[in-house]
């Protein structure tokens, strides 16, 4: 076993896993609270990236301003999707499949629109200080380190918010028993908007770091968000801790496959793990059977 390779892959795995963890939490709070399979989260992610790129290239702002604009854009788009298409569909039908289809529709149309407007070519985001840390045989960039820190801070913030604040408790109430939440006077509509805002913000935030590392492309969101979905199901719905652990695990698995096979197969292996987990423990690592 190549020790240096192992160390590098381990670190890369943790970096990737942190990104997945944050994305998983972002999707997880939306899904567990509203039970909407928010496939268009991929679009929210992608729009955050494009907004940043456009701001930087059109207005020549410093990169951190562009990033903030990117996050803001994600929040707006996420809220817009919930307040618009999802609400319209839910008003007419209680079947969760229908909202899923609506999410699918928004995702299809939105991604295609981005392709029309920006073509499929890459749009990079430049300006972030470039620095590379070398520790022993391991190389890691400043972007990666910052992204990791930001990811875990976000997860921590969400966790504290949920347990320590009134609004957070209201979210928990709606998540565990929406009927009773209404009965005690909690506005389900407002809680939904709140979780969409939080989830979209984190997605937009993570999209910035992905763009910094590569570039913005119209279909970048789907791959990341799908893995986030997998992480949530792996870790158990309704558990922030579970989503984070699931994301970290998937990141490590994806990278560590590089020890034996081409990294191309990383996702395939991760998928295999998810299937096995879904069969053995259908409620995920930390989830509980439905009440």
């Amino acid at each position: 076993m190549n020790m240096e390779l192992l160390e590098q892959l381990l670190v890369s795995g943790i970096v990737l896993g942190s990104l997945y963890a944050a994305l998983a939490v972002s999707f997880g709070i939306i899904y567990s609270t509203t039970r909407v399979f928010h496939l268009a989260h991929a679009l929210v992610f992608t729009c955050g990236a494009y907004a940043a790129v456009l701001t930087a290239s059109t207005f020549g702002t410093p990169v951190w301003v562009a990033m903030i604009v990117g996050v803001a854009a994600s929040i707006l788009i996420g809220l817009g999707i919930q307040a618009g298409p999802y609400t319209i569909v839910q008003r007419r039908s209680k079947d969760p499949i229908n909202v899923f289809i609506a999410a699918l529709a928004v995702g299809i149309a939105g991604t295609a629109l981005l392709e029309l407007l920006f073509t499929a070519s890459n749009r990079p985001l430049t300006g972030f200080p470039e620095h590379t840390f070398v520790v022993g045989s391991v190389t890691v960039t400043l972007v990666d380190v910052v992204s990791m820190v930001v990811a875990w801070l976000s997860i921590l913030a969400v966790g504290l918010f949920m347990t320590r604040t009134n609004r957070g408790r209201a979210i928990t109430a709606v998540r565990t028993n929406a009927g009773m939440a209404e009965a005690v006077g909690i506005s389900k509509k407002r809680v939904y908007l709140l979780v969409f805002a939080i989830g979209s913000a984190i997605a937009g935030l993570m999209a910035q770091f992905v763009t910094l590392n590569g570039a913005a492309t119209p279909s970048m969101g789907l791959r990341y968000v799908l893995i986030a979905f997998m992480a949530v199901f792996l870790g158990g719905i309704g558990s922030i801790k579970g989503a984070a652990v699931g994301g970290l695990a998937l990141g490590l698995i994806t990278m560590l496959t590089g020890l034996w096979v081409s990294l191309d197969y990383g996702t395939a292996i991760a998928f295999g793990v998810v299937i096995v987990m879904l069969i053995i423990k259908p409620h995920g690592l930390f989830g509980r059977a439905a009440v």
Binding site: N177, M180, A183, V184, G185
Partner: protein, 249 residues
């Protein structure tokens, strides 16, 4: 049916201004008309029960009054006109609602449940006081304060749900089938508490039930709901004196 009159019978309260006035309320689920032009009143301190079989629209009626579903018609509560689907406003003005099933947050502790019951209260101080008051009123809530609500028995959960409703010091309690799945002796205990509160604090109670005997024991007035329509209103003693009620459902 004289055994029903074991408790002292109530005379209908004099016609004080009702705290709840429901006028011509209708509601539908999709194409199905569930409530048709329903009108009723409840006065402060009065216990009113709506009897009807499954499918008559009892739960829909409560939800329409509470504002959890869309409806047409008028609901006037404590002098204020409530808009359709405005349950947050209803709670703010002192209306509580207790569902028939899943009436507690099972994954949270008794204490956390009570806290959530009072989540709409502005001041944390007030909430704390109310929690203490509930724990005094229902001793089991104090004893089992850290226990997960889902592990309580059905009757205990029902008691907790009533306490949660009382957290906001409501002027009107809406109770959906409070005796569902509960042993008769616990039903008696709960209903007894409710009646005491109604008398002491002028709490108005609107409860829907299938358990005719238990509800007639504490009710002042009865409405009969059939296929979404109110077909009869009468004082509780008159109902209690009937041989059977089946032709009313």
């Amino acid at each position: 049916m004289s055994e029903l009159l074991t408790e002292s019978s109530h005379s209908p309260t004099p016609a004080t201004d009702p705290i709840l006035r429901v006028s011509s309320v209708s509601a539908a689920y999709g194409a199905r008309q569930v409530l048709d032009n329903v009108s009723l009143t409840v006065a402060p301190g009065e216990i009113v029960t709506v009897l009807g079989h499954n499918g008559a629209g009892k739960t829909t009626l409560l939800k329409a009054v509470f504002g959890a579903i869309s409806r047409s018609g008028n609901v006037e509560f404590d002098g204020r006109e409530l808009r359709s689907q405005s349950y947050t406003a209803a709670v703010g003005h002192g209306m509580s609602f207790t569902p028939a099933t899943l009436p507690v947050f099972r994954d949270l502790t008794v204490q956390e449940n009570l806290d959530l019951g009072g989540i709409s209260l502005r001041s944390r101080q007030e909430r704390r006081e109310q929690v203490e008051k509930m724990q005094t009123l229902f001793s089991l809530l104090g004893e089992r304060s850290g226990q997960l609500a889902g592990t309580l028995s059905g009757g205990q959960q029902r008691i907790l749900s009533i306490a949660m409703a009382l957290m906001i010091k409501p002027k009107l309690m809406l109770l959906d089938e409070p005796s569902l799945g509960i042993a008769p002796s616990v039903v008696q205990q709960i209903f007894g508490q409710i009646r005491e509160l109604a008398q002491e604090e002028k709490l108005a109670v609107l409860l829907v039930e299938q358990n005719v005997r238990a509800s007639l024991r504490i009710a002042d007035r009865v409405y009969y709901l059939r296929h979404g329509e109110i077909i009869l209103e009468e004082p509780a003693e008159v109902s209690a004196a009937r041989e059977h009620w089946w032709d009313l459902f």
